[in-house]
Symmetry: C2
């Protein structure tokens, strides 16, 4: 069995429009690199962090906390060294902490001969996510570990479904480099919502799941809406309405907030349309103080990849 | 072309648990008989009504109102005579008015060589439904016309999706013969609902649609819940909790209110389980003043049938 593994841990989009809090998908063209080594000396050590400044202490590092949860559950007679090369900027809204949390347990699991299922790995990784966001959730972890579109039906007990990804579906991401505190994004959510809007939201989510199954892009277009949360959270993102209008005018199927922002995603049929959306996105903050990054990614149906 | 058609117009279940207001399915073993005749004399006439007392005036009869909507849109140089043999008791909660509204337009459309799609027929039939319920809705009409499970994504514009029906799925119905006024059932609904519950509801509906697609009965079981509306409406039905407990103990995948009641439905894998649920249902009101009827039905994937 190998004692060292290098992996690509992808970015992910959670809160996919009508699938707020439950539906996510996996990106292919942005992610972290991680190297996990199995060593004789027991315990866990983070030996290298590149790409951004994060704590090396296991209990203060998202990758460390998830690794520790798995390590303590399995209690193997070896130790692990973890190297993290962050390609996903923390706070960007495309699953940076989920990548770290998922990557460490995925890599260790591979080196140990896969004692755990992906569902079990998700449960360990949720401990790491909780360090970052103060609550256990799996909506970014699930697409990172399972790939494609995932629906987290329930967190307790954990119930994750892999929804089919139609061929030729591409995401365009715009990341305005502003800070949105998760607590702030959460505080904007009302405790109660109009029953009529909630019904529209579940009609759309049911339809979106159906559309993904049958590969009906026009149905995906009609369904890819968030009538419940977007009205509250859009104020967090400067030029939100313009970003969305440009995406839709460029032919995107839909456009909404990625996670709790500040990144936004658009989904398109075909790479050409996704690139057109990207070109539009590049103009958004040209005349403002806000720096932004954009990218096009095919939907990654595999999740974490062994390099 | 034929000038007379006899049809079986099935009962339907709307408000399928987490699919409140959007998801319905079609029954096979209960329905109305209707005979539609094309005649030279212009206009519409209801010539016979059996099974219950309903008005013969076109504008006061659900089947008449929907027929008139289609007749006036098409303006054919003929007339129609409609015979109605009600097998579904009005007010039972399994789509009695929808059957009448759908049957007349379906039959006329057949006799005219199908000028209209099922979606267009649904739109005409909604006019008849509106007479019965004071609002245009399609959640019983869609399964009656399309068969199987249907999801009404939107009423304006009308957007109806046919969701796959797994083989071997059966419904058990219990109809306690009490009256529930639609207005009363509506008045019980709150204007606002907890966001957390709404999220659980759309997670379940997305999962149920996925479960129907892949034929995963255990997923259907986990998803077939209504955490939003049931707590308010269950008080309308005497012994609600006992009915539900008996269904689940007998092995049903789920059990909830059919439409706005008083009927309740259970879904089961296999006819034997559905029959066991029926046997349990038969005991519910034995020692009470309430009469009840029960039935088992395969899910009807065809909808209205020409006899």
């Amino acid at each position: 069995m190998k004692d060292k593994i290098k992996i690509f841990v992808p970015g992910t989009v959670a809160n996919v429009a009508c699938g707020f809090d439950v539906l996510g998908f996996c990106l292919d063209d942005i992610g972290d690199g991680m190297t996990i080594k199995k060593v004789e000396e027991p315990g866990l050590r983070i030996t290298k962090i590149r790409g951004c400044e994060l704590p090396f202490e296991i209990d203060k590092n998202v990758a460390g906390v998830s690794a520790k949860a798995m390590y303590e559950a399995l209690n193997p007679d070896c130790g692990f060294e973890i190297e993290i090369h962050k390609g996903i900027k923390p706070g960007s809204g495309i699953g940076s902490s989920a990548a770290s949390a998922a990557g460490s347990v995925f890599g260790m699991n591979e080196l140990l001969g896969r004692p755990y299922t992906k569902l079990e790995l998700t449960a360990f990784a949720m401990k790491g996510e909780a360090l970052a966001s103060q609550s256990e959730h799996a909506d970014n972890l699930a697409p990172a570990l399972f790939g494609g579109f995932t629906l987290v039906r329930s967190v307790h007990p954990l119930d994750i479904l892999s929804i089919p990804t139609p061929d030729d579906l591409y995401a365009t991401i715009i990341y305005p480099q502003i800070e949105i505190k998760t607590a702030e994004a959460r505080a904007l959510l009302p405790e109660k919502v109009d029953l009529k809007l909630a019904i529209a939201q579940w009609a759309n989510l049911g339809s979106l799941v159906h559309g993904l199954h049958i590969g009906d892009f026009e149905l995906i277009r009609r369904s890819l809406k968030d009538v419940v949360v977007e009205p509250y959270r859009k104020q967090l993102i400067p030029k939100y309405d313009i970003i969305k209008a440009i995406a839709l005018e460029s032919g995107a199927l839909g456009c909404s907030i990625s996670g709790s922002g500040p990144s936004m995603f658009a989904l398109s049929k075909g790479k050409a349309t996704a690139e057109k959306v990207k070109s539009g996105f590049e103009t958004i903050y040209q005349d403002s103080d806000i720096d932004s990054q954009t990218l096009v990614s095919r939907i990654n149906t595999k999740g974490i990849k062994i390099l």
